[in-house]
Amino acid sequence: MTSPVGQPLLEAAGLVKRYGGVVATDEVSLQVQRGEVLGIIGPNGAGKSTLIGLLGGALKADAGTVQFDGADVTQLPAAERARRGIGRTYQIPRPFLGMTVRENLLAARYSLHPFARKADALAACDAVLARTGLADAADLPARTLPLLRRKRLEVARALALDPKLLLLDEVGAGLVDAEVTELITLIRSLRGQVQGIVIIEHVLRVVRECCERLLVINFGRQFAEGRTGDVLASDDVAAVYLGTAGASGSPPQREVAAPMPVAAQALAPALAPLLELKGVHAGYGQARVLEGIDLAVLPGQTVAVLGTNGAGKTTLAQVLSGAIRPSVGQILIDGQAVTGWPPHRIAALGLAQCMEGRRIFAPLSVEENLQLAARRVPPAELAERLERVYTLFPDLKQRRRNAGTSMSGGQQQMLAIGRALMARPRLIVFDEISLGLAPVVMDRLYEALAALKRAGMTMLVVEQDVERALNIADQVHVMEHGRIALSGNAAAVRDDPRLRHLYIGKAD
C-alpha cells in the first residue's frame, strides 16, 4: 500500500528497560510509517508488552528515545502521549468497572475535549460503539461484560481518543475463528482514520492478514524484521516462535519421561461418577451465567468442556471450586453433596484446580507455590511429590527459588499445573491453560496433560482451543449461553455439524 513521504509517524530508537537485573527490553528500535500496520511477535516473556508500555508511556525507558509525529515524547507521561494521539489497549482488559460502557468512552472524549458539546461527544462515542459491536451494551456497567466484550471495550476506548497511532496488545487472544475474522475486518477498517497501528499478537491469522511488516522480539532483543510474508517464512523465526508443529493443526503426542502418580483407585474406571453436577444454576449478583448444567466425570476419564467466550466455562470451573455458590442445583463428589461447601473443604476431597490466569502467588517462591497445594503432608512425601513435578517440568526445578511470578507466562502455567498436581488430587480441573500462550508452549503443556491421562488421572479440561481439547478428551461437552449445547465422545463431537456451526473453520 502507498505510504505518504515525510518522517515516520512513530520512531523509537535504542529503547532499554530493566527490572532490577533483568533486561526486559534491550536496545529495541522500530519505525511505524504513516498508514502502516506493524506487527510485533515473539514467544511469551519476550518483552512485547513491555515494549508497548514504553511506547504508550506507561513505563519509563531507562535509555533510548521515542519520536512521535515529529516530536520527541520520550519524557512525556502516558496521559500527554495519549493526548498527542497514541491510543493503547491492555492485554488483560482494564475497563472502568464502576462506569457504564458509554461512560468508559466518554472519559476519553471529555479528557480530550473538556468543553465539547455533549451531543457531539455522545455521537462520537456511539459511533465507536457501533463499529466495535458494543452498541447494545452502551448503558450496561462495564463490570457485567464478559472477557471478550471487555477486550472490545479496550479497543473502543482507545478509538474514542481518535488516536493517530493505535497500540493493540493481544486483542486476538482467546477468540474463536469467527470472532478473529470480525477483529480482522475491524482492524482493516481502521486504516482509514488511524494513521498507524502496532499489533502484538499470537493469533497468526491476525498478524498475517493485517500487518505489512513484522518485528520479531526474543529475550527483549530485536530478532528479525521485515515484510510479513518473508518473516513468517523464515526458518529461524519459526524455530524460536512457532515451534515445529505450531503451524499445522493438531500437535503430535510425543512420549514424555516420567509418568505421573495417581491415587490408586482411579486406575480402574469404576461406574460411580467421581464428580457430578445436577441442574446447576449460578451467576454473579443479578447476572445469570449458568442455566442448568448437568455433567458427570467418571474416574480415569478426561472430559473437555468447550465453548466460545462468555459461554460460562470459567464460571463453571469456579462453581466446581466452591468459589461461587450455585443458586440452584447440586454438586456431588463420590455421590456426596458438596453444594455450598467452602473451597478449602472441596479441595480437601481431592478436587484440584488449575485456575484461569494461573493465579501464581507473587510473594511465594516457585517451590513454596508448589508446597502450598500439598496440605498436611509429611516432609518425605512432600519432597517426593516435588521431585515428580520437577521431572515433569524441569524448568521449574531450575527456578525453584525465584519468585513465582518472575517466570515467563508458559513457565507460570507449568507451575500452575504442577501446583494442582502437588495435592495428589483425584480430579483436576484445567481452566483455559492455553490462553495467550505461544503454540510451542501449548504443545508442551498438552504433552504433559497427555502423560497424565495415560497415567490414569481424572481430568476436566475447560478449553478454548477445540483441536487440542478434542485430541485429549474422551467425553466432550460444548457450552453455549450457560447451557450444554452438545455432548458426546470426542470423535462424535468432532464430526457434528453443530460444532462446525459454533466454530467456523479450524484453528490455524
Partner: protein, 283 residues
C-alpha cells in the same frame, strides 16, 4: 424554632456537609481520607485569624477561611498523591496528626491555649442560617461533581488510574481538583465551628474526633448513596443526644451501636430498605 432545635440543626448541617465532602473524595475519587481534621482545623484557625487580625465579617470570613484549607490541600497534594490506596489513607491520617502536633508546639498560633475570637459570636439563629448556606453550597458542588463530565473523569481515575492516563486523563489534576474542593468545604465547616465556639485550640479543632465522626456518618448512613450522609448524621446526632443523659455509659453504648449497625446494615441505613426488599425477594 427553639434554640435547642437550632443547636441540633447546626450540628446536623455541619456534619452532613463534612460527610458529603468526604464522600466526594472517597465515593467518587476513591481517595479514602483520614485527614478531615487537618482541613477542618486550618479552616477554623484561618477564620479566627481573619476575624481578629483583619476584622473580616463572618459571612465573608467563612468562605475565605475555607480557601486556606483548600490551599493546604494544594500544597500537600504532591506528596499525598504519590500514595495509592491504603498508603494514601494512612498518609492523610499522619498529615492531620503532624498538623495537630505542630499547632500545639508552635506558639505563633497560640500553642495549646489556642486563640479566642475577639468579637462576640453571632447568634445561634445566624449560625444556623450560615450552616444552612454551607449545606446548600455543598449540595450544589456535589450535584456538579456527580452529574457533570468532571465526575466521569473522576470516576475513571478512581476505577483505574493507569488506564485513565492511557486515554489522556490527567489524573493528578483531576484528583487535585477533587481534593481542593472537598478541603474547601471541610475548611468552611471548620470555620463555622470556630465561629460558634468563639475559640480554637489544637485538641478540639485538629483532633481526630472530627475525622471519626465523618467516617461513622458515612458508614452508618451508607456509602455512595445520596441519602447516606444525611441519615448517618441524623442517626449520630440523635444517638449522642439521647444517650447523653446517661453520661457514664454514653460512649460505650455509642461504640456498641456503631458495631451493631455496621454488622447488620452493611449498606448503611440508606441501603436498608433495598436490602430488606432483597431478603424478602429471596424467600
Amino acid at each position: 424554632m427553639s434554640d435547642y432545635a437550632l443547636e441540633l440543626g447546626f450540628r446536623l448541617l455541619l456534619l452532613i456537609s463534612l460527610a458529603e465532602a468526604w464522600n466526594l473524595l472517597a465515593g467518587y475519587g476513591g481517595l479514602v481520607s483520614l485527614g478531615t481534621a487537618s482541613f477542618f482545623g486550618v479552616g477554623a484557625y484561618a477564620l479566627v485569624g481573619l476575624a481578629n487580625q483583619l476584622g473580616v465579617p463572618p459571612a465573608l470570613a467563612v468562605p475565605v477561611a475555607g480557601l486556606a484549607a483548600a490551599a493546604l490541600a494544594a500544597l500537600m497534594s504532591r506528596p499525598l498523591f504519590r500514595l495509592r490506596g491504603l498508603y494514601f489513607t494512612v498518609g492523610t491520617l499522619a498529615l492531620a496528626e503532624a498538623l495537630r502536633l505542630f499547632m500545639i508546639n508552635n506558639t505563633a498560633f497560640g500553642g495549646a491555649t489556642g486563640l479566642f475570637l475577639a468579637g462576640d459570636a453571632p447568634s445561634l439563629q445566624s449560625l444556623f442560617l450560615m450552616a444552612l448556606a454551607l449545606l446548600a453550597v455543598t449540595t450544589l458542588v456535589m450535584a456538579l461533581a456527580t452529574r457533570s463530565r468532571f465526575s466521569i473523569l473522576l470516576r475513571a481515575v478512581r476505577d483505574d488510574e493507569d488506564a485513565a492516563a492511557q486515554i489522556g486523563v490527567r489524573a493528578f489534576r483531576i484528583k487535585l481538583l477533587a481534593l481542593v474542593v472537598a478541603s474547601w468545604l471541610t475548611g468552611m465547616a471548620g470555620a463555622l465551628q470556630a465561629l460558634k465556639l468563639g475559640a480554637v485550640e489544637p485538641y478540639g479543632t485538629f483532633g481526630v474526633q472530627w475525622t471519626v465522626a465523618v467516617l461513622s456518618i458515612v458508614v452508618i448512613g451508607g456509602q455512595g448513596l445520596r441519602a447516606g450522609p444525611v441519615l448517618g448524621a441524623v442517626f449520630l446526632v440523635a444517638l449522642s443526644e439521647l444517650l447523653a443523659d446517661w453520661p457514664a455509659l454514653h460512649l460505650a453504648l455509642n461504640g456498641l451501636i456503631l458495631i451493631v449497625v455496621i454488622r447488620f446494615a452493611p449498606q448503611g441505613l440508606a441501603g436498608l430498605p433495598s436490602a430488606l426488599a432483597q431478603r424478602r425477594g429471596r424467600r
